[in-house]
Every structure is written in C-alpha cells, then in structure tokens.
C-alpha cells in the first residue's frame, strides 16, 4: 500500500454501550439496567485506498463498530473523523449527504433486503434519497449499469429478493452500496453466509470493484483466511477492545497478543493439517455484560499473570505500524512456545 497523506477515516476513542431494557416492574424495583459495552474506546485510522480487516470472535463488537462509524448506531462517546471532518456532531441533513460517500454491505443477505421491494426499488433507493437521478428512466439506467457490473442481468431488475439465491442477493446488497459511488464501504461479513464456491465469486468481485472505483474498505470477518487474503492491515478485537493492529504480514506471521496468537494457531488449514503447535484456549467467551477485570482476556489467557487480573493494559507500539495490548509484550512471550 502506498503511504498516503491524511487518513480517510480516523476513530478517536469510539465507544458504544447498549443500554439494557428493563420491564416496568424492574424499573419500579430499581433494578439497575444491564448495559453491554460492545465497543470500548477504539482508536485507529483507515488510509485512502486500503482494506483494513477487522477480526474477532462472535459478539466481540465488530458489527457494532462498523455501524457506529456510519452512525447507524449512535456512538456513546468518542469521535469519527471522515475526510478531516468530525461527523459525530453532524446534523441529520448533513449526515445524509455524508452517507452518500460511506456505505455498508450487511452480514446477512437474507435479512437485509426488504422482501416487498423489487431490485430496481432496492438498488435505486440511494439514488432517489441523494437526488442522483432526475427521473425514473435515469434510475433504471443507473441501476441496470450497476447490477450488470456486479454480475446480475439488467432484465432481472424487476424481480424480488426471494427469487434470487444467497450469492445473488449479496450481489444486490453490493449494488445497493455502490450505486451512489461511495468512497468508503464497511463490508460486514459479506461472504460468511455463502457457500465456499460463491464466497470466492463475491471476494473477487469486491477486489475488482475496489481497483476500479478506488474504494476503501473496512472488511469485517471472523475468517482468518479471508482477512489474510484481502487486507492490507488487520485489527483484532476482543470483547469490545482493540487488542492488536498492524500490517497483515506482521500480524499474521508475528502476532503479539496471546489472543491473536491462539486465533492463528486454531485456524484449520487445508494445505497443512496439524502443522502448527495448537494452543487450546480453555473457557468460553465471557459475558460482555459483566466483562472480566483487568485485561479482559485474562480468564482464557494461557500466559496470564496476577497483574493481568487487576490492571488494564494499554495499547503500545511493538513494531513498524504494529500495536498490541498486553502486559507481557516486553518479555516476548508467545503462547505457541508453551507446549515446548
């Protein structure tokens, strides 16, 4: 990736807490609400033209982060700076204009398309919303162009989502995100619900479109192979926290956080079955409603020490553009050497 001037997007201590709902009785009984701190003070930059991969366990806050960036969920605190402008304070009108430049492709191709709208209505909506087409004829023309570009046929535009397969629906979702010519796209697990053979079609399409339109991606996935294959840099989250960030080669070949290390060692590999020293994490993902004290990973960490139970580690630099959040970084500890 070429080093470019200012980042396209900067997150500054972005947090999102979901406030739990209480029943009337609970409120009368003064039961405190159960809050979920889904994203906790995350800061990073995304450069123009790069793909930043975001990886982490189910429920660690990846989708919440992606949606908070676009303000589809209102962040609880922190800032999102897009192209030099703090968008967290924008009024709805200005935010609407901004959304033309920032789009999202959703996790679930089955649930994210309104079944009562035809393809031309679904894909054409952003054009109408942003006044990018003068009349219906122009909407149809632009929709025809974009759906052909994503591999559907123009004569399919009057069909409804249920008449398409999962892979085709994901293409409709991509067309909808691209039709307003955005610069930045949050891809929230765009291929996880698809067959391996169809996954590859969509990944290839996203790569081509990126080249062609000069897009910048935040690519969310829990699949290390997908992330490793198409990202320039990788961010790793654990229970709402950013725990590691760096160039893809450094993070994959030299992971520094014990969680990232276990993640790498646990991923099965077709080409090299059983090649690695396996690190077995014990214990389950703790509840985000009641996260562990100190370092949130200490309950499952094979190399945790007493300090990890009480003291929250800060994220620090461990190499060129590579950061990690662990008390034992200085000791060059690796969970992979434990078995030896």
């Amino acid at each position: 990736m070429t080093e470019s001037q200012s980042p396209l997007l900067s997150l500054d201590q972005l947090s999102k807490t979901y406030i739990g709902r209480r029943s009337l009785v609970e409120r009368l009984m003064r039961v405190p609400p159960t809050n979920v701190q889904a994203v906790n003070q995350v800061s990073f930059d995304i450069r123009r033209g790069e793909t930043l991969g975001l990886i982490g366990e189910s429920g660690c806050g990846k989708s919440t982060l992606g949606r908070s960036i676009l303000r589809l969920h209102e962040p609880s605190s922190g800032k999102v700076v897009y192209d030099g402008q703090d968008i967290t304070g924008l009024n709805p009108q200005d935010m609407k204009t901004m959304r033309r430049r920032m789009q999202i492709i959703f996790q679930d191709p089955y649930a994210s398309l309104n079944p009562r709208r035809s393809v031309v209505e679904l894909v054409g909506l952003p054009l109408k919303l942003h006044g990018l087409a003068k009349n219906d004829a122009e909407v149809r023309e632009k929709v025809a162009y974009i759906i052909e570009r994503v591999g559907l046929k123009a004569n399919q535009m009057d069909r409804y989502p249920h008449q398409f397969s999962g892979g085709q629906r994901q293409r409709i979702g991509i067309a909808r995100a691209l039709v307003s010519h955005p610069e930045f796209i949050v891809c929230d697990e765009p291929v996880s619900a698809l067959d391996v053979s169809i996954q590859a079609q969509i990944i290839q399409l996203l790569q081509e479109l990126k080249q062609e339109m000069g897009l910048t991606y935040l690519f969310i996935s829990h699949d290390i192979s997908v992330i490793g294959y198409l990202s320039d840099r990788v961010a790793v989250m654990y229970l709402g926290d950013l725990v590691e960030l760096g160039p893809v080669e450094s993070v994959l070949n030299n992971p520094r956080h014990p969680y990232t290390q276990s993640l790498m060692s646990a991923a099965p590999d077709v080409d090299q079955p059983g090649k690695r020293d396996r690190v077995q994490l014990t214990g389950d993902l703790p509840s985000p409603m009641n996260p562990p004290s100190g370092c949130k990973f200490h309950t499952r960490c094979p190399v945790a020490i007493d300090r990890c139970k009480t003291e929250v580690p800060v994220i620090e630099s461990v190499g060129e553009g590579h950061q990690a959040r662990c008390h034992r970084l200085g000791e060059q500890i690796s969970v992979l050497n434990l078995s030896a």
Binding site: E57, S58, S165, G166, G167, Q168, D195, V196, S197, I198, Q199, A200, Q201, I203, Q204, Q207, H222, I224, S225, V226, G228, Y229, L230, V248, L252, S262, L263, A266, A267, P268, D269, V270, D271, P273, G274, R278, Q280, L281, T282, G283, D284, L285
Partner: protein
C-alpha cells in the same frame, strides 16, 4: 440386496430421498452410497443444499412429510434399518447412532434444564439403571456431571440446573454433543458442529470429538463446509453436489489430488493467506434446481471442462479401491 462390506459399521446403498413440494418433486438425495468403518471419521462436504443433512437424517429415520425415502438400503452393523418398526428405530437412535443437529440452539429444548434433558436421554436408553427412583436419580445425576465434565463444562453440578439460553454458543454445542454421547453411541453424526462458532471454540469442540472417538472407539461422520476442518480431522472424505456423491477417498488423496472438477473448484476457491495477491478462482454459476433434473452431469453448467459426453447419466467410476469419482473424464481414463 448388495454385498455388505464386513468392516463397515454403516453401509448405505442407492439412497434416494424426495420431497413433494408444490413446485414439483425435489430429489434431495439421489442414489447415494455411504460407508462408515468402525472407528473412522468420515468427512462430508459439499455445496449448501447438496443433500448432506438429508442423507444423514434419512439414516436416522428422521425424514418427515412431505419427504420420504424412495429407495435404497441402510444397514447398520448388518441390520437393515429400513425394515425396522418405528419403535425399534427409536431404540437404535440415541443408543447406537446419535446425531447433533446443525443448529444447537433450536435442537435443545429451551423449556427444560440441561440436567433434565440429559436425564431424559439416559433414562430412555440405559436399561441398566436401578429401578428405585431415588437411587436412579442419584446415579443419573452423577453420570450427567461426569459427561458435562467430559465435554469440558466447568462447575458441571450447578450448570445442570441451568437452561440452554444461559450458555454461550460453544457451550450449547458441547452440551448437544454431551447429550448425544450420554448413551455411548457407536456412531456419532455431527452436522456442522462448529459452523456458528469462532475458530478458538471450534478447535475446542473438534478436539473434543477426536478425543472421544479415541476414548470410546466410536465412528464419526463430520458434516462441514470447511475443508480445513476435514483436512485436520477426517480419515476419509465424501464430496456431494446436487444430491449425488461426486468424489470420495482418503482425505489426503482427495485434497492433494482432486479428480472431480467441482472438488478442484472448491479447493481453488478457498482464499489462502499464502496466496495473497494471486487471484482466487471462483466456480462461476450456481447449483441447478433439484426438480426434474435431466440425466446428465449435474455440474455441467458450471464446469470448465464440459463436453457433449457429459450429457448422459454419469456413473461413479472406481479409480482404486478407496478412490471414486463421478466424471466422464475419469470414466474415459479408467477405460483406457
């Protein structure tokens, strides 16, 4: 009836399972043969909708209307399961063969505690339990605690009182496995046991299944779409496409040297970290509709190597004792 392989624990021959829908007859499984040997782990991979779950639901006798088994033999340990009564079949299910369902959350009963569900399973299948109610309860509880500990759930005793929603996804998956194992089955069919899980938890569950296989000497069928999982855990693998088995063989041989264009395509479409920057090769097109399929290769429309020779019913070709593939190209070379 066909000759049954003596070391086979499960032998399925010519299985055909159909669903009668408004649009027509869906032939979900069409002429499938399966062999599972004693103590082995067989991997089953294939496109979504290719009939993996329906094949093994048929083995379990769990196909409900509008579906039914149209043809085929299902032999378990020499006994033809299709000739058994509903009651006899229920006894086999759970005692000898257990299946964990694709979706653990919906397969567990949300209204019963995990302890109650384990107890129900044991009482239904374990004739050796004492008749005295109090003694029986104590023994069942002891066994339940043991089994939860076996699948790695800490503080098992208090956990028995909890309901499924109080567990995480990985724990529920392990509880499902615990329940399936409560009767010490000889064959465990695990349908996508780890699809909803994260790699770290996935590794735990698969390690557990491998461990138990070694400890209890059971056979395992692992249905998955993850070739990495197959490559790490299975002795043999069976590849399905549109209701048929298209390739079969020892895992290493199938992965190193795939013979069917679909298997090759599948392997070519996995993004690999080691191939960053190189294009992946997706398989273009989509699976055919399973209604009124013509007698021709089912992968035809998506195949790079198709020719007119593919426009007839394609037989399974045996390449070597353990290695089979359903493709004209293999037919031709086998005849040479």
């Amino acid at each position: 009836m066909s000759v049954i392989d003596s070391d086979g624990l499960l032998e399925v021959r010519g299985l055909r399972t159909v669903f009668d829908t408004r649009a027509g007859r869906v032939c979900a499984v069409d002429g499938v043969d399966v062999s599972v040997r004693r103590g082995e782990c067989l991997g089953v991979v294939g496109e979504s909708g290719s009939g993996k779950s329906v094949t093994f639901a048929s083995v379990m006798g769990l196909i409900k209307a509008p579906g039914h088994i149209d043809a085929g033999d299902i032999c378990f340990d020499g006994q033809n399961l299709r000739q058994l009564s509903v009651k006899q079949m229920r006894a086999i299910r759970g005692r000898d063969i257990a299946m964990t369902m694709q979706d653990a959350l919906t397969a567990l009963n949300p209204a019963l505690t995990v302890g109650e569900q384990l107890a129900e399973m044991m009482i239904a299948h374990d004739q050796s339990l004492p008749r005295n109610k109090r003694e029986r309860r104590r023994l069942v509880e002891q066994k339940s605690v043991d089994i939860l500990q076996l699948v790695g759930i800490p503080s098992a005793k208090s956990r028995l009182q909890q309901y499924p929603h109080e567990f995480s996804g990985g724990m529920r998956q392990r509880i499902m496995i615990a329940i399936s194992l409560a009767s010490h089955p000889r064959l465990l069919i695990a349908d996508e046991p780890t699809t909803a899980l994260d790699v770290t938890i996935q590794a735990q569950v698969l390690e557990l299944i491998s461990d138990l296989r070694a400890k209890l000497g059971m056979s395992v069928v692992l249905i998955t779409h993850d070739l990495g999982v197959v490559s790490e855990h299975c002795d043999r693998v069976m590849v399905m496409y549109a209701g048929q088995v298209v390739e079969e063989g020892p895992t290493e041989s199938v992965i190193r040297n795939p013979q069917h264009p679909y298997t090759r395509g599948l392997l070519g479409s996995i993004p690999r970290i080691s191939k960053r920057g190189e294009p992946i090769q997706p398989i273009d097109g989509q699976v055919p509709d399973l209604i009124d399929l013509p007698a021709q290769c089912r992968f035809y429309s998506r195949c790079q190597q198709r020719s007119d020779a593919c426009l007839k019913y394609i037989q399974m070709t045996t390449l070597s004792q353990d290695r089979k593939v359903r493709c004209v190209l293999a037919e031709e070379t086998a005849h040479d």
